[in-house]
């Protein structure tokens, strides 16, 4: 079929099953947007800043399991999606980015809105393409989706020079042919683990007396949440769920110890630290989990399962390294275990319950008349929202509290920027999730710093009728930075005060078409949340005015051993 490159791109996206594109038009991508006129191609969500489009694609991908698509023009638009691409790269999210580029003949001439987009994004994408021939579009798009979604997922970028998409330019003429089967000799992810390695792992798992299953985001990427629960139950092994794996195992499950790491709960941190076997399943020994690597889990043997062989031995040398997909490998492990039963973990389990009893996640209630405690707000939000609510968080204290105090009982209900730590992630990610899962309640948990970075996407939410809800925990500070300044810089507060007096978050939100409610009194918290949950035709912003000096506990100071975990002051008297 004869057509132009712009129409071919839309056809290629439809061929890949894309139902929505988050984007923003501009010079070099205009021919593609022109091809959309008349309703061709997938739904388009017009954002208010290209960064928002990138995070929306990411939020959509994480919530639905389908690749998210972002489309923007060249130059400043391409550089505006650098942050979300890096974010998706570090959190292994399948995103396909389409960027316009100046006409091929002008590349390298410093043309208007020209940037070396493939060069800039080379180290933050799984792969990228600069297409010179419109006939290549169907196959390149097909490959891009394959690469983004296969093996360890990640972002892939396609840079399209304007001359090959513009119907008015003869160079855009192409003949559509359906993509042929993928032939990439350098890209053949291995899904199944080697049987000998599986058996070696199983033997360690059966004989360990203090095992911990260190569950990472790779389990969710592999759609292996059910296998995780089955494996943990079969071997009676306690599980810690990293920030990227929250929801992979229900928090209500008695074997789930919760989140480990810098702000993990005491039991999860100490369980890893004191274990004799760590089964790292789709997790990558991130520094926020290990603390000081040399002092991390000193007695533990390590089984490391990852689909990306570059993770095996990158930080901690495993005793058994298994290259494979978490779901496949756990299925293999279950088969290999057969009817064998694990060693007795009775003493280990009683140690763990002792810690859980002495050092539960806890906070002190607000003084009468004092500001709201953020943890209390999150607990009420959790209890008053539907059970399978999707929560998207920004980055900072509120992110840690959300991860700590929410009870995730379903996979793919927690979205956050774990690897890159991108402030402003929550609102656009929540919008992307709501587009993909329109029947679910989607809450963005945000801080006042984050909110000011990406709140303009609430205009997108209003105009495009994407009724997300935002819980803005306004502590008038860049709270996490303030906490570090307090704890590690002798409380020398430097440039962390956001007390304003502007913006007025209510007026700002209302101006963007949201229903907005400010909550200062503890007695108003429930009513406001219930009102918000009942609204389904507009975005809602609840501004909770919270205690400015609240700190996140427990905390392992940066660079310290996990054994030095600091519990909240009111628990410290009992610390040994």
């Amino acid at each position: 079929m004869e057509m132009d490159g712009g129409s071919a791109l839309l056809k290629a996206l439809e061929f890949e099953g894309v139902d929505v594109v988050f984007g923003y038009p501009g010079g070099a991508i205009m021919p593609v947007y022109d091809s959309m006129v008349g309703g061709s191609g997938p739904r388009h969500v017009l954002v208010r800043h290209e960064q928002g489009a990138g995070h929306m694609a990411s939020g959509y991908a994480h919530a639905t399991g389908k690749p998210g698509v972002v489309m923007v023009t060249s130059g400043p638009a391409a550089t505006n999606i650098v942050t979300p691409l890096a974010d998706a790269y570090l959190d292994s999210v399948p995103v396909v980015a389409i960027t316009g580029q100046v006409p091929y003949g002008l590349i390298g001439t410093d043309a208007f809105q020209e940037t070396d987009t493939t060069g800039i994004t080379m180290s933050i994408t799984k792969h990228n393409y600069l297409v010179s021939d419109p006939n290549d579009i169907p196959q390149v798009v097909h490959e891009a989706f394959h690469i983004a979604t296969t093996g360890r997922p990640g972002p892939v970028l396609i840079d399209l020079p304007k001359n090959i998409t513009d119907v008015r330019n003869p160079q855009s003429a192409m003949t559509w042919t359906d993509p042929v089967p993928i032939d990439l000799p350098g890209f053949k992810p291995v899904l199944d683990g080697e049987p000998e390695m599986i058996e070696a792992a199983v033997e360690l798992m059966l004989t360990a007396t203090r095992p911990v299953l260190y569950a990472g985001g790779g389990i969710l990427k592999a759609r292996g949440a059910a296998e995780l629960v089955t494996l943990a139950e079969k071997l009676n092994i306690p599980v810690v769920t990293t920030l990227m794996a929250r929801g992979a195992m229900p928090d209500s499950h008695e074997l789930n110890l919760g989140m480990p790491g810098m702000h993990g709960n005491y039991t999860a941190v100490m369980a890893m630290q004191e274990s004799d076997l760590l089964i790292a399943m789709g997790s990558r020994f991130d520094d926020r989990v290990t603390g000081k690597v040399d002092a991390f889990a000193p007695d533990a043997k390590v089984i490391h399962v990852d689909i990306d062989p570059a993770e095996l031995g990158k930080i901690r040398m495993p005793d058994v390294a298994i290259r494979g997909d978490a779901k496949h490998v756990m299925t293999q492990m279950l088969a290999a275990i057969g009817t064998r039963t694990p060693a007795d973990h009775g003493q280990w389990r009683s140690t763990l319950s002792g810690w859980q009893e002495n050092y539960p996640l806890a906070y002190e209630d607000a003084e009468p008349g004092g500001r709201l405690k953020p943890q209390m707000v999150l607990e009420r939000l959790r209890d008053l929202s539907p059970e399978d609510t999707i929560v998207a968080s920004g980055v900072g204290q509120h992110q840690m509290w959300a991860s700590q105090y929410w009870k995730f009982d379903h996979p793919y209900t927690w979205l956050n920027s774990g690897g890159l730590g991108t402030m402003g992630y929550s609102i656009p990610a929540a919008i992307g999730a709501k587009v993909g899962m329109p029947d679910k309640t989607v809450w963005a948990v945000d801080g006042d710093g984050c909110f000011q970075m990406t709140c303009q996407e609430l205009i997108t939410a209003s105009v495009e009728k994407i009724p997300i809800k935002v819980a803005l925990l306004n502590n008038t500070y860049l709270g996490m930075v303030r906490q570090w300044q307090e704890m590690f810089y002798e409380n020398r507060l430097s440039e962390v005060d956001l007390s304003g007096p502007v913006p007025d978050y209510i007026k700002l939100s209302e101006a963007m078409g949201c229903v907005a409610i400010r909550v200062e009194d503890p007695d108003e918290v429930d009513d406001a949340i219930e009102r918000a949950n009942a609204i389904d035709d507009a975005p809602v912003v609840l501004e909770f005015v919270t205690e400015p000096n609240e700190n996140v506990y427990p905390m392992v100071p940066g660079g310290a051993s996990n054994s030095e975990v600091v519990v909240p002051p009111f628990q410290q008297k009992g610390t040994d």
Binding site: T118, S123, G186, D308, P309
Partner: protein, 164 residues
Amino acid sequence: MKRTQLSRTHTLAVLVENKAGVLARVAGLFARRGFNIESLAVAPTDERFSRITIVVDAESAPLDQIKKQLDKLIDVVDIAELSLEESALREMVLVRLELDDVAKVADVEALVSGFSGSVLRTRNAHMMLSLSSRPDDLDSFLEKLQPYGIAELQRTGAIAIPGI
């Protein structure tokens, strides 16, 4: 003159697809991790693939990580680390000499012949030489030529394939 420290270097033979930007992807990985590429030689083997020989100055542990990272590049098909003993390793050098005395031409000719190199051209006291051999032979060759006055030289960087 800088000598090729074969003992401290690692030689990687990397088979890649002939795609635009593949060399930038490979070189970028080394640069981002602060590895010095000692030499790099690349040429197509057929329509679809190219082979790159990279000699890198590195400790072995981080090199293992970089091999894995290289393998993650979509266009990289295969990576082999080659041992000096078992692989065929060759490098070529072109040298232009400007002798101060035309009478020394005969001395240089003898030297070149001793290394099994070639004199490509001689014009008065100017000579063009080439030698293809192991990189450490090239080092010795150039060291011996030094006193005669090397005006310009170009080495190709090592190329290598696994031995038989």
